[in-house]
Structure formats: structure tokens, C-alpha cells
């Protein structure tokens, strides 16, 4: 079951013993939670997705494209289901000095030289086509927002009686109330990771100067957050643990051997 931002703000305030917000406001705690969410996401790369954003679709004669704004790191880009080779500008300059003008089938991309958040396709697409490009990347979670309440409208069928009667008056009057809250943002990570973010928020709240500061307790929560962070980082390496090989075990596919001369031509043989 997903966990939501608003309830976590409430939970952190309850944990700090300040549900009345006399020391920390909901806004301040919300900022710490957002900070913890961003920190956990950035340092662990836990959020991954595969997408085909329209901003990367081929446009004839257009070389550079803007990456999704939530992107941290690219893991793989494909063009017509073929992986594009990630290159550096310096490599490309040696290989094809005219890469900034050559058009044709896209076979690679570079990220340096055109600014953060921009990629340059190699070669430049010759025609405008959508759906050719797919990108797999680590991303930043959605910005967390509070739930909002909105009042319901109410109507009276007639003035209420002087003395209320449940059987006669209540059916004639619609109750005034509030709508269900518009959903607060859900965390996109598994529920168990949310408590690490909660610990981060507690550490920051207890660390800041002013009433309520408790550096020892802050250090305790920071330790819990650091341990949680190590759990997530270990998880990334753990998912690859099954591939550990052994002598004699089937090996992964490798490229064919490079060609070489049958004799040491040009070298002195003693």
C-alpha cells in the first residue's frame, strides 16, 4: 500500500512530539522530507524507468534534444530497438570530424559539449519520425505535495424545524462537509524505504538551531538513515549476485578474438 506525503509529515511531527506545531511547522517538516526523498533517490538511483518521451523523437535536421527534466542518469538509449553507443565529444571528433552535420541513421549519442540536460544524436536524423527512440534512466521522484480539501456545496429543501427530528428534518437537509482530500503525493519507492526518509527528516529537524535542538538524537536518526541507505545500496548489488560465476561455469558472451598476424612480422626473433 502506497505511503503519502501528508501522512508522513504528520507522522514526523508526532515522532518529534510536536503535533501542535509549536516548534516545527508542517512546511518545514515537509521540506525536510522532500530533501530526504531527493537525497535517497539521488544516492541510490532506486527509481528506474523506461520511456519514449516525445521530446527525443527524431526531427529532421535537428541534432540536439532535451532530456526529460526528471532524469538523473541514462542507462540505455535505443533507436529502432538498437542500443545507441554513448560517446564522448573528443572520441567523436577523432572518428568523424563532421559529426555535427552528417545525417543518417542514428547510432550513438553524446552528452557533453551541449550542456546539462541535452543530448546530441550521432548522426543527425534525416527525417521526422516518432516512436524510434526509447530511453531507460534513473529519475527523480515527483515533487511531493500536500493534500487539499475543498468544501462541498450544500442545499436546503426547506427551513429546518424549530425542534430537530431525525426522521423528518434530516432527510430534507443535505449535510455540509468537505470533499475527500485531493490525493497527497505518493512516494514512488517501496513503503519500507519511506521510514528512512522519515528518519532523515527527524535528523534535520533536531539538528537545526533553536528550540527543540537535540544533536544526540539527531545523530541517532542520522545513523538510522545511513544504515537504511546502505540497505538500498546493497540491494542494487544484490540483484546481480546470482551472476557470480565459477571456474568451469558457462561464461558470458564475449566478442570474437581480434585478428592478428600469424608471425612476428617486423620484430627481431632471437
Amino acid at each position: 500500500m502506497a505511503k503519502y506525503f501528508t501522512e508522513q509529515v504528520t507522522a514526523v511531527l508526532a515522532r518529534l512530539g510536536d503535533s501542535t506545531q509549536s516548534i516545527w511547522t508542517r512546511t518545514e517538516i515537509g521540506n525536510y522530507i522532500q530533501e530526504g526523498y531527493d537525497d535517497l533517490t539521488l544516492r541510490t538511483g532506486m527509481l528506474w524507468k523506461k520511456a519514449a518521451p516525445s521530446g527525443l523523437d527524431d526531427v529532421a535536421s535537428q541534432a540536439t534534444y532535451t532530456l526529460p527534466t526528471d532524469l538523473y542518469k541514462i542507462e540505455r538509449i535505443t533507436w529502432k530497438k538498437k542500443r545507441l553507443i554513448p560517446l564522448r565529444a573528443s572520441e567523436l571528433q577523432r572518428e568523424d570530424p563532421r559529426y555535427e552535420t552528417t545525417t543518417g541513421d542514428v547510432w550513438g549519442y553524446i552528452q557533453d559539449g551541449d550542456g546539462i540536460g541535452t543530448i546530441r544524436k550521432v548522426r543527425i536524423p534525416a527525417s521526422t519520425v516518432s516512436g524510434n527512440v526509447s530511453i531507460e534512466y534513473l529519475y527523480r521522484g515527483t515533487t511531493l505535495a500536500n493534500a487539499t480539501l475543498a468544501p462541498l456545496s450544500h442545499e436546503f429543501e426547506g427551513p429546518p424545524s424549530a425542534s430537530w427530528s431525525i426522521t423528518t428534518d434530516l432527510p430534507r437537509i443535505a449535510m455540509v462537509g468537505f470533499s475527500l482530500p485531493a490525493a497527497s503525493t505518493a512516494f514512488e519507492c517501496p513503503d519500507r524505504f519511506v521510514k528512512y526518509i522519515r528518519d532523515y527528516a527527524c535528523a534535520r529537524a533536531l539538528e537545526r538551531d533553536g528550540p527543540g535542538q537535540d544533536l544526540k538524537l539527531s545523530a541517532f536518526y542520522q545513523t538510522r538513515y545511513d544504515v537504511g541507505l546502505s540497505h538500498v545500496l546493497r540491494r542494487r548489488s544484490r540483484v546481480q549476485a546470482v551472476r557470480t560465476g565459477s571456474f568451469g561455469a558457462p561464461t558470458k558472451a564475449s566478442a570474437p578474438p581480434k585478428p592478428r598476424l600469424p608471425w612476428q612480422y617486423g620484430k627481431v626473433v632471437r
Partner: protein, 207 residues
């Protein structure tokens, strides 16, 4: 120790048998937090789930409620019930090197890989029923008679975790830290137990 006994032990050690400082709800939540944490740290809970694949997708989100919800921790093995073969684990780079447009290939799955932390990838793609062996987070303790699934020698880890959490909420960092360290030691012992449970029988001898 069952759930009820764990709660009683936490309250006894916190000198709050009358539940005047922490309510039963808070104690239960702290114990279940610890259960979740130790399960993630040690991966003692191993299970199998069925993943039904189709002929159009290479990737499956394992946190999807129709597959595993978000209890998935790490994979162990994948078995194709349609072909009766174990799938080989591979890396996306291997597929990119050996099969340029592998995402277009169709056929009974032969290889699997993980993308990110909870996306299962298969190659090639087809309608199949895969038995996915993995470690997971167990269901939270709820009934009084519920018992943690790992050996009872390590049940006190949940008590220590709960005490650390409750003392932290009460603004007592020294006590919280002391109990946290005990919890950590017990969790490390459980992890060593889980990782080395076959060690004795597999260790040979010279001669």
C-alpha cells in the same frame, strides 16, 4: 515468541507494563517496523511467485500489486513452467552485444535480468508462466499468536529494535542507541545464520 509476548517484553523492559507512556498501537507499530527492517537486512524470507508474461513486453514491474506488490527484495532464480527450463540470468549489455535488436525477438523466455531495483526483464518475449524465486518482506505481525518466521533465538532483535524506536520517540538518545546496537548485533547474527545455513554439510576435509 509470539506477537503478544513480544509486546509484553517490550513494555516490561521499558518499564511501561501499564501502557501509560506508549500505547499498544505504538508498541505494535515499532515491533513491525523492526520485523520489516530485519527482514530486509537479512533476507531470511524466501518465496516463489508466478509472473505471467505476454508477447509484447520485455519488462515487468515487480511492485505491481498483481505480481508481488512492493515486498520484493532480491531475485534467486526463474523457472519457465511452459518449457520446464530454468532461465539463465544475464545482463542487458550481453544481449546488446550478441543480439542487436533483441527487444523484437519473440519466443519462450530463456534469459532474465533485473533493471533498477524491481523491474524484471526477459528475453525473448512470449506468453509464459514463470515461477519467480526471490526473497521478500513477510506480512506484518497482526494476531496475538503470530510468530516471526525466523528462529526464536533471534526474536529478541525485534524487542531491541522496538525499544530503540520508542526511546528515540521519547527523546532519550542514549537508551535508543544502546538498544539499537543490540538490535544490530542480533540482526548481523541472523544474517550470518541465513547465509551460512548449509556451510557445515558442505565443508569437506583433507583426506
Amino acid at each position: 515468541m509470539d506477537f503478544s509476548s513480544l509486546q509484553t517484553e517490550v513494555q516490561r523492559r521499558a518499564e511501561d507494563s501499564g501502557a501509560s507512556v506508549w500505547s499498544a498501537v505504538e508498541v505494535k507499530a515499532a515491533i513491525n517496523d523492526g520485523y520489516e527492517d530485519i527482514s530486509e537486512h537479512t533476507e531470511w524470507y524466501e518465496r516463489s511467485a508466478t509472473v505471467t508474461t505476454d508477447a509484447t513486453n520485455n519488462y515487468y514491474d515487480l511492485t505491481n500489486s498483481s505480481i508481488l506488490s512492493d515486498t520484493f527484495l532480491s531475485p534467486r532464480a526463474v523457472f519457465n513452467s511452459t518449457t520446464n527450463r530454468w532461465l539463465d540470468m544475464c545482463d542487458v549489455r550481453e544481449l546488446d552485444l550478441s543480439r542487436v535488436q533483441w527487444e523484437n525477438n519473440t519466443g519462450q523466455p530463456q534469459k532474465w535480468f533485473i533493471r533498477g531495483l524491481w523491474h524484471l526483464g526477459i528475453w525473448p518475449k512470449a506468453v509464459a508462466s514463470l515461477s519467480f524465486r526471490h526473497s521478500a518482506i513477510p506480512a506484518a505481525l497482526s494476531a496475538s499468536s503470530d510468530t516471526p518466521g525466523f528462529p526464536q533465538e533471534f526474536h529478541f532483535a525485534l524487542v531491541e529494535y522496538a525499544l530503540a524506536d520508542l526511546f528515540a520517540q521519547d527523546g532519550e538518545p542514549k537508551k535508543a542507541e544502546a538498544h539499537w546496537r543490540k538490535y544490530f548485533d542480533l540482526a548481523a547474527s541472523l544474517k550470518a545464520f541465513v547465509d551460512n545455513r548449509q556451510k557445515i554439510d558442505r565443508v569437506g576435509a583433507l583426506g
